[in-house]
Symmetry: C2
Subunit: 96 residues, 2 copies
C-alpha cells in the first residue's frame, strides 16, 4: 500500500472524529501511542511491537490530515535517494 493511500484511508475512517476532537487532543493521542510502544519495547514484549508501531503511524496520519500535511511528499522530500527503477539505495540496476 502506498503511504499516500494509507493516509487517505485513515482520513476516510477517522477524519470526522479527528476534526471533532481537534489537533491538540489528537496529538496527545499520538503521544499516548508512542508511550505504549515505548513500554512494550522497554519490557521486551516483541509480539505487540508491530501493532503499536502501526498505531503510532496511524495517529501520525490523523494529525497530518488535520494539519494538511502530505506524509508521502514529506518523506520523498527528505529521502529522495531511492532509484525509482530498482527501488534500492544505492541504485542496483544491472548495467545497461
Amino acid at each position: 500500500m502506498k503511504i499516500k493511500e494509507f493516509q487517505k484511508m485513515i482520513g476516510d475512517i477517522y477524519l470526522a472524529r479527528d476534526a471533532a476532537r481537534g489537533p491538540d487532543k489528537s496529538f496527545l493521542w499520538l503521544l499516548e501511542e508512542v508511550g505504549e510502544l515505548t513500554r512494550a519495547y522497554r519490557r521486551g514484549e516483541l509480539e505487540p511491537l508491530g501493532s503499536e508501531m502501526a498505531d503510532v503511524i496511524a495517529w501520525l496520519a490523523s494529525v497530518a490530515n488535520l494539519l494538511n500535511i502530505d506524509l508521502e511528499a514529506e518523506l520523498l522530500r527528505k529521502y529522495p535517494k531511492m532509484c525509482l527503477l530498482c527501488q534500492s539505495v544505492p541504485c542496483r540496476c544491472p548495467a545497461r
Copy 2:
C-alpha cells in the same frame, strides 16, 4: 511510494549504522525525533512539522528493520478496511 518500499529504502541507507548502534540507542533516537516533533507542534511552528513527521517515520522504520517488523504488513493487519479497487473506506466503487 509503498510503505514496504520506504522501509526497504531506509534499510538500504541506514541498516549497517542502525545495527552497529543497536536497537536500544536507535529507539532513543526515535524518541528524540518524537520530542522534536512535539516541540515544533507545541510552539505552533507548522513549517517544520512535516519534516519532523518524516523523521519519526524514518526512525520507526529503522527500529522496525532491526526487529524484523514489516510495517506495511502490520498496518494492513490493523486497518484492513480499505477497498482495494477504489482505495476508499467505505468502498465508493460505482455500482457494478
